[in-house]
């Protein structure tokens, strides 16, 4: 009864140089951190 969903480890190296540079800038700031910075109702 287990449902398996394949995950892809995204290969951003295939993207264009400008996109990659943009991503590098982004990673410097955030490094793909999705964890929430606030909690519901905190605003």
């Amino acid at each position: 009864c287990i449902v398996k969903i394949p995950l892809t480890r995204v290969n951003i190296m295939r993207k264009t140089r400008s996109e990659k540079n943009m991503l590098n800038d982004f990673l410097k700031k955030h490094a793909y951190r999705l964890y929430l910075t606030s909690s519901p109702g905190s605003n």
């Binding site: 009864c1 287990i2 969903i5 480890r9 995204v10 793909y32 999705l34 964890y35 929430l36 519901p40």
Partner: protein, 323 residues
């Protein structure tokens, strides 16, 4: 022809496909244990993010119905705003009818990201859309046999990673599956005993908290303690990153994360990765230190080594050596 392997430094996000609506519209999402909401971009979205991603066309879905509710979510990597809606969501063979989800209209910070949306797998109390998260709906609707899901994040291959729902496939791990109770039901956060290198406690000396988060790529920890580890490794700062010589990686010490009395070892090959310039940088990042609690985020870097099971039925996390 001479071929050379390329370091794949930004190869850090794991995405999977889901569908929303009738007939189904496909989206590539991050399965994120750090948040609780599902959102995808709306056809009405005008942000730059939306120009390069799959957009939900609500008028084309016969099972869609809107609400008057709006929501906003601020993640560590960006923020978005949108409206709350309901529709049928499918994850593989699993169907969540009348699933509440977010349709994003504005984004900041997500530009260029290789996913359309995020599917949160945390407890309901972290929901910003205010509805029942998809895993809770699947449990309530009796769609899954056991209230668990598990992640196998492949170390080297672009493919081979899976998230599984409703049970655990033992072929993805070896040895024992060690269970760790949550500090509190409501967040995938456990108590960690200590962090040590070569037998020396280097952080978390009095115990600390660890968030087990599939939506984060690097190990996050408090600045002072991270600096201690980086100094122990002999990493040198360059820009916002810390580097070591790639030729030295094989000689660098492992890091032991002790959780519930069991050591989970992270070898240097897991935390020091070769980048496109041929240098090796350390997969750690600072987190803003809490005044009260020392918190670490055990992210994909850790979860590539350890198969992880998220057990909602018993409010615990299982960890085992990944194959």
């Amino acid at each position: 022809i001479s071929t050379h392997p390329l370091g794949n430094i930004e190869d850090m996000v794991y995405v999977g496909n889901i569908t929303i609506g009738t007939p189904p519209q496909k989206f590539q999402v991050v399965f994120d244990t750090g948040s609780s909401d599902l959102w995808v971009p709306s056809i009405s979205c005008t942000s730059q993010f939306c120009s390069s991603h799959a957009l939900f066309r609500h008028l084309e879905s016969s099972t869609y119905w809107p609400t008057q509710k709006t929501f906003s979510i601020e993640y560590g990597s960006g923020r978005m705003k949108g409206v709350v809606a309901h529709d049928t969501v499918r994850i593989g063979d699993l169907v969540s009818n009348d699933q509440q989800f977010g349709l994003s209209l504005e984004h900041s910070g997500f530009k260029g990201m290789p996913f359309d949306g995020i599917l949160g797998l945390n407890y309901p109390n972290f929901s910003f859309t205010g509805g029942t998260p998809i895993f809770d709906n699947l449990m309530n609707q009796g769609a899954i046999s056991e209230p668990v899901f598990a992640f196998y994040l492949s170390k080297s291959k672009l493919e081979g990673s899976v998230v599984m729902f409703g049970g655990v496939d033992k072929s993805y791990y070896q040895g024992a599956l060690n269970w760790v109770p949550l500090i509190q039901a409501g967040d995938w956060r456990v108590h960690m005993d200590r962090i040590s290198m070569e037998g020396q406690v280097i952080a978390c000396s009095g115990g600390c908290e660890a968030i087990v988060d599939t939506g984060t790529s690097l190990i996050h920890g408090p600045r002072r303690l991270l600096n201690k580890i980086l100094s122990f490794i002999g990493a040198t700062p360059r820009g916002s990153k810390h580097y070591v010589s790639c030729s030295a990686v094989n000689t660098l010490p492992s890091i032991d994360f002790t959780i519930n009395g069991i050591n989970y070892t992270l070898p240097a090959q897991a935390y020091a990765i070769k980048d496109s310039t041929g240098d090796c940088y350390i997969f750690f990042k600072q987190i803003r230190a809490s005044r009260t609690t020392e918190t670490w985020i055990l992210s994909d870097v850790f979860l590539r080594q350890y198969f992880s099971v998220f057990d909602r039925g018993n409010d615990r996390i299982g960890l085992a050596q990944a194959v």
